[in-house]
Amino acid sequence: MWPRSSINERTMHNTDFDLKLDRLTKVEGSASLDIRVKNGQVEYAHFQITEYKRFFTQAMQRKPIIALPQLLSRICGTCSNAHIMASIEACEHALDIKPSEQTKILRDLTMYGLNIRDHALHLYLFALPDVRGKDAFLDFDENDPVEHQMLHDAFEIKAAGNFFSELIAGRSVHAPYPVIGGFMHFPDQKGITEAIKKFEAVRPAVLRTIEIYKNQPFHFDRKTNFMALVPYDHYGFIEGCINTGLGECITEEGYRDHLERVVLPYSQASGYKYRGGAYMVGALARMNLAKNLLHARTKDASGGALDIFPSTDIYMSNLAQAIEILHCLDHSLEILKTRKFNPEPIIKKPFREAVGIGVVEAPRGTLYHKVVVGADGMVKEGEIIVPTGQNQINIENDVAALVEKMLPDTSQEKMQFEIEKLIRAYDPCMSCAAHFLKVKWLEP
């Protein structure tokens, strides 16, 4: 069952050791992990985001503001459409542009397409092999009825999300239609009819996904704080206030006072704390804080799965993602069946000296963009806070707790597998979430 047959099976009788899960000697990737254990206690667990910096916060300086969303989209291919939405919102706040109702709906739909496609990728290609004890999703057996169904469900759900992203936003990755002030293109009736057909056809597959993760065999509970942008009316990813999980809901503009940046010298990214403590963002946080806002049809169909939340079990993030896919389908279907989309002009305003903040819920959690623009329409500076950075300290705390729980009698191979699986449940990002770790055991 364990995929690392190259590693000799050993049992940990010694409770002093260094554990290095290192991407450098085996595969390229963007994360690694160093753990030091002394006297049976984890002294530290450093989750290192090792993707080489591409310096977008410097590169955005002196760029025309209208070019900014497409530039910042290139921060992350997986979440590119979320970066576009956050950047557009920041730029519109800076320029005092209020989007039309239709634009707001098209932006909601853009985020729905992103989440369907992206969550399905994580749930099936990354996480499901762990559930089935396989190395790769493509190793699933087509002659096994259960795995046959999973293979077909995965690619059909992903394809529906991809089609929808192309229809609404022009592309799944670095979408060209959404811009500051509106959309450059509008969905036609033929495409809308096709999307409705695809979504209705794929809905039973999504319900099966929920069942899989409701019954998943893994659990890891550790009390932590959850934070998410919680909408005012319907469950969504763009509007709302930032619910800190501690009884406050702060406005987007006030975010910076509430986050404490922790620079981690061993990592290419920054970690963040809130009121001195680690916290978690992402689907689990959203479901814990906002499940009452899900679409009525989703609530009806999710049954007992919703009763599991709020949950501190990190693996329930997978279930939360599956439920979010259903919500994205159900709310999109309602919108597509009940309204028409008409061409609208792009809203434009004169440039002015201002600061704009944009906050959205990317698939992996709260994403913050800040832009400072001059009267000439050129960007002076900016700041971007990504979900994986916010989760970094929480991941480290979870890994430390997991390792201590497994000591002293767990084999190295099993420990590596469990650590990787746990980190994967955070769905950190494409470059981290897949399979990136190699263990070096450096026992003193």
Binding site: Y52, K53, F55, Q58, A59, R74, T78, D135, H174, M430
Partner: protein
């Protein structure tokens, strides 16, 4: 002459946003059954845990080269691959991953300590600055149709 054997494929990401990997996984929605029969995915981190870098028929490279370690790894892949294909803008032209190459003096000073701390190269390189490429598919992200066209062409060559 590889009539019936599966082609050994590797997909490697260096400094980039991995948008081409996303497009690749979306192309699988329509092609996974065909590719499963055609390809042995030897080293595709997005798809599997047990990745092996041995002799490959085709290596796809996305991303720019930002460190000596990247360059050494790329050279190793080149030696072990019959065909090496640069995928996406960062691999083909270096940008936008190489945007720090064009920073002004003030911006360079701001990032200098980080470049030094992580032993990054003074300038970010495109793939063909480091190794010979056999084909290139540009774009940010790559155009799915052009990628398929190139893949089909390479497969036909191997099947001759």
């Amino acid at each position: 002459m590889i009539q019936d054997k599966k082609l050994k494929i590797g997909w490697f990401s260096f400094s980039c946003c991995e948008d081409n990997t996303v497009v690749f996984t979306e192309l699988m929605n329509d092609h996974w059954q065909e590719w499963k029969k055609l390809f042995d995915f030897r080293h595709v981190r997005v798809l599997k845990s047990n990745n092996v870098l041995d002799d490959l028929d085709i290596a796809f490279i996305e991303g720019a080269i930002a460190s000596d370690e990247h360059a050494a790894r790329l050279k190793e892949i080149r030696v072990k691959s019959k065909k090496l294909v640069a995928i996406g803008a960062c691999a083909v032209v270096g940008m936008p991953a190489a945007q720090r190459n064009y920073f002004n003096e003030k911006q360079k000073q701001e990032i200098e300590f980080l470049v030094a701390r992580f032993q990054a190269l003074p300038k970010v390189l495109k793939v063909s600055d480091v190794v010979k490429t056999d084909a290139e598919v540009g774009g940010c992200p790559m155009d799915p149709a052009k990628f398929l066209e190139m893949v089909n062409k390479l497969v036909a060559e191997f099947k001759k």
